[in-house]
Amino acid sequence: MLFTLITLLLLIEGVFLLLRRDRRSVFLFLSSLSLFTFILGILLYIAKKGGITEATSVLLYGLDEIRRWMQYRVMTLGQLGYIVALGRFLFPLFILLAAFSFSYFPLALRMKRLWWTLAVLPVLSLIIYIPPVFKAFIAPWPWILKAAVYFSRTWIYLYIAASIAVMIHEYFSITSSFFRRRFITKMMILASLAIVYALYAPQDPAQIYLFYSNDYMWNLGLWYLTSGISDGMYVAVMALSFVASAAGCYGTLRYLRVILDDEHEEVALRRKANDASAGVSMFIHGTKNEILASRILISRIEKNGYQGKELDDLKLMMDKLLTRMERLHGAISSRSVHLDAVPIETVLEEALRKAERACPGILIDASGFMECINVLADTDNLSEALSNILVNGWEATLSASRSDPVQLAVSLERLWVSITIQDNGTGIPKEAQHRIWEPFYSSKNSSSNWGMGMYFARSIIRMHLGSVRFETRMGRGTRFIILLPRYDRREENGCQD
């Protein structure tokens, strides 16, 4: 059963690697692979060595046939011992590298570049435990054997402790509760792998090389027969392994689901935009021609000497309609952005101006912008996108018969600039949550709203290599969180920490 869970975990991490193909997924997969190798070696060893009750056998192997099959596998003790050594000495390295890959504090960033320094101890141990080397230089002298066993045990526990410390440090470095909650899933994956490993980590390959030797057993004890984890406690250890493995499977699946949902949403939105694009282009083209023709007619009426307020209103209406057509065209057609390093406050101030223009009387609480935070942005497009979300939030607040200002806040989240827009509206109903980014989707009954604002906002944010998510509670409002990569060239702005 434990074997089944570990195999399942490896398969899930394999799928994760195929879908993501990034540094994190590689380290997670390698961690799972080394853990799988380690546990497989241990199960082979226990099957051959015996000493477990029938019930423990069921917990470890499931069917007795599997235990017997493992017991009679043909391999030398050197081969079996080195399988365990590979898993045992590589797992701490990969789990620590995975922890660093999830982290963004300065030491983690430095260690991502200096990862090879972490490989020194595992490689040294793997050399020492090469069967002929071990037999010639370690096994004959009990004190050297003892030293080698304690040396490897010490560093692997230090690596595991360091991995946990890195994840905890990273967790507390995150200020936003939204991102903290998301980070817990990643912590759960690594913690579950580390727990399963730590339970079996005392299983030194030397025990296998010296399979029938009493010296090792007498001096260091047999790990899986030690009094601390015998009988009921041993079952407890097994159960903890299952819980940890199951948690790891669940965590990875959850993480995978978030990624797949994101990718699926992106593909679906692109397809809908493409479907709409051709028809909308024809519609815009035709309408613009009609508007231009109308303006020519108005000019002729003016030349004929007709003046009046009605004519001015008509001209204004035509201009507004033309502007909206151009914006619609801009939203639906593929566009490029020109990215420059600009202070985020410049973008936000422009967004506030645009929101005020689009929705006179809008109330926005935007105090306390952080200075000297740069992002790579196309100010015009990005401010337009942000103003769309601000206006959307204000309209939601009004529709809830409230007049609390929309909250606009900026904070730093590791390598990202986080912009939070919180309204006090009615919240987004569950059935609408999957649709708010779609083109031409609007829940508002308004002739001035064509449902393109949020689609445009999302497209522009993603073109800035950023992301936008939201949390909503019915009757309590909605919070949009926009993440943009931080451009940190302080020397160019003369800013100091």
């Binding site: 015996g50 000493g51 019930a55 009679y72 009493n214 030690t226 299952f242």
Partner: protein, 329 residues
Amino acid sequence: MKKAIAIMLIALVALSGAFAGGSSESSDGLRTVRVAYMANYASLWSVVAGMRSGAFADQGIEVQLVEFADGPTIIAAMESGSIDVGYIGHGAHRLCINGQADIFCFSHVGNGDAVIGLKSHGVTEDPASLKGKNVGYASGTSSETILRWTLEEAGLSFDDITAYEMDASAITSAMTSGSLDACATWSPSSFTILENTGDDAFILSDNLTFSDRTASIASWIVMPSFAEENHDLLVSFVKGLYAGMDYRAEHEDEVIGWVAEVLGTDFDTVYAQRGDAEWLTSAELVSQIEDGTIESLYEVQKAGFGENADQSATIDSYVLFDVMTEAAS
């Protein structure tokens, strides 16, 4: 997810309760004794006969069997407290001589260790034919001892063969599949190999070949501290073993069937192992204790270990003859 974790934790608590145990009083008033055995007839013949015939229950003992692959591991398990008493073959007696465990009951003198060769791989009855061959053995056990002696007979050493250190189960599979040319192993692996390879496999040497050099004794052992604190329990346990020995003498086929059931194998496989040793009755054993035969066997065995065992240790310092004689009275 929370529900699943809760269910697993409840199961964990339930299982922990179910498995907590050891040498303790069971619900029906019997004292539970955790007994380590190896998967062969020689290890089980007396204890299973005692269990199934009700002899242990008569002594107020419930036996809980736990399978092991080898004697040193059994001693390590006893040291950790997860096992109360255990059965060991010849090789692990070195640990008893060196003071790491006490023998509280003699079992038998066996003939289970053997060096087996495959004719189709060029191995002949001449031990010199092992030169250059791939030979599997279990390092640190009687398998290594009998292989070394066999090689010495032909003036060879381990340097003259390609030796593969393996566990007993892997040796069996490797010989059956023809991956090895020869091996040194013990019963019942030796029988499995002989049975599965037809006429191809043959015994090159066994314990009888070297009877002048050592006695391949098997015994029941216990930790010295456990023996001190549980003298009466050990006497009762030996009474159960004695009753089992005597029951086997009268009902050999029935006991073989019981052992086959415990091992999860067929009757014939166990039946083939009945010649592994001379199985004594309690009266014969007590008689051999009284006339000094058993003590002299242990002396021969100790001498056979040479410098690997503490030759200054006296037999009565690690063999509890008082338990064996008290159980007979």
